[in-house]
C-alpha cells in the first residue's frame, strides 16, 4: 500500500470523526480524534491498513486535561501517524486498545501509573514500572508532581 492509498482510506472511512489533520511535514502526520473513537481508529489502522503500533505518549497539559498520542507507522513506509486524544481532568479516562493491539498492553499500564489516566477494560491494570507500594494518587509525570 502507498501512503496516498492509506491516507484516502482513513479519510474516507472516518470523515467527520477526524477533528484535525495536521501534516508537520511529508512524513509526520498528527490526527486529532475524540477519545470515544480511539478503539475503532486503532482497529482500522492496525488490522486494515497494516499499521504497526509504535508506542503511546501522554502528557499533562495546563488546559485541564491529559493529551495522549498513539503513534503508528506503516509497513516499510516512512510516515508516522500520531492519533491525538484529549481526556479531561479530574479523573481522566480512556478506553484500552489492548483488546485490539496486544502490543499496547504495557504502555497503557505505564500511562495509568505515571499520569493517573484510568484505562478502561485493561486486561492487567497492575503497576508496570513503579513499586507496588508507591503512594496512591502520586503520579510522577503530572505537572504538579
Amino acid at each position: 500500500m502507498t501512503w496516498n492509498q492509506i491516507q484516502s482510506a482513513i479519510q474516507k472511512r472516518f470523515g467527520d470523526k477526524i477533528l484535525g489533520w495536521r501534516e508537520h511535514n511529508k512524513i509526520r502526520i498528527y490526527v486529532d480524534i475524540d477519545p470515544e473513537d480511539l478503539v475503532e481508529f486503532s482497529r482500522f489502522l492496525f488490522h486494515e491498513q497494516g499499521a504497526r503500533f509504535i508506542i503511546a505518549s501522554a502528557l499533562d497539559t495546563p488546559r485541564g486535561g491529559v493529551e495522549i498520542f498513539y503513534h503508528f507507522d506503516f509497513h516499510q513506509l516512512p510516515q508516522v501517524l500520531s492519533l491525538r486524544v484529549f481526556v479531561k481532568k479530574p479523573d481522566p479516562e480512556v478506553n484500552s486498545i489492548a483488546g485490539v493491539i496486544k502490543g499496547s498492553e504495557w504502555i497503557e499500564r505505564e500511562i495509568a501509573e505515571l499520569l493517573g489516566v484510568r484505562v478502561r477494560n485493561h486486561p492487567n491494570p497492575e503497576h508496570l514500572l513503579l513499586p507496588n507500594d508507591w503512594p496512591k494518587g502520586n503520579f510522577p509525570l503530572r505537572r504538579d508532581a
Binding site: L130, P131, P140, A145
Partner: protein
C-alpha cells in the same frame, strides 16, 4: 590484620550487582575478565552468590525497588567484606540526581569502602581501584 582479611586481599571473590544502572559500568566490569584486562590474574573471580563473596561491586542509582534486595544481599555476604561503588551513578547519581525513583545514594544504604568514578570508568580504572583497595587493606597505603 586478621587471617580472614589477609585471605580476602590475596584473592578477592567478587559479587557484582546493578541497582539501577544503564549497564555501561556493568559491561566494563565484565570486560575486566576478558583477555585484554584479565582480572583473574589478580585472583579476582566473579561469583554467583553473595555468600561466597568478599567484595560487593555495586553499580547504579539505588532505585527504590532494589533497596530491600540489596540489604538482604549485603547481610548474606560473608564478613569481613568490602563494598565497592563503581561509576558516577553509584557515587552520587550524577545526572540522575533528583529522580523520583532513586532518592537514596548507594552509600545511604551500604557502607562503601571504595569509590571508582567514571561514566563509565574504563577497565584499567576498575583494576587500578581494586588494586588500590587491596593495598590499603594490607596496610600498604
Amino acid at each position: 590484620m586478621g587471617l580472614k582479611l589477609y585471605a580476602l586481599t590475596k584473592s578477592p571473590w567478587v559479587y557484582h550487582l546493578s541497582v539501577g544502572s544503564c549497564n555501561n559500568c556493568d559491561i566494563e566490569i565484565l570486560d575486566c575478565l576478558t583477555p585484554r584486562y584479565d582480572l583473574e590474574r589478580f585472583g579476582v573471580v566473579l561469583v554467583g552468590s553473595p555468600r561466597h563473596a568478599d567484595a560487593l561491586l555495586v553499580t547504579g542509582n539505588m532505585t527504590l525497588k532494589n533497596i530491600p534486595r540489596v540489604k538482604r544481599l549485603y547481610e548474606q555476604m560473608a564478613k569481613p567484606g568490602v563494598v565497592i561503588a563503581v561509576g558516577t551513578c553509584a557515587l552520587g547519581h550524577g545526572m540522575f540526581s533528583g529522580s523520583y525513583t532513586a532518592p537514596h545514594t548507594v552509600d545511604d544504604i551500604l557502607p562503601v569502602n571504595l569509590y571508582i568514578p567514571g561514566c563509565p570508568p574504563n577497565p584499567e580504572a576498575i583494576v587500578a581501584g581494586v588494586a588500590r583497595l587491596l593495598n590499603h587493606l594490607r596496610g600498604k597505603g
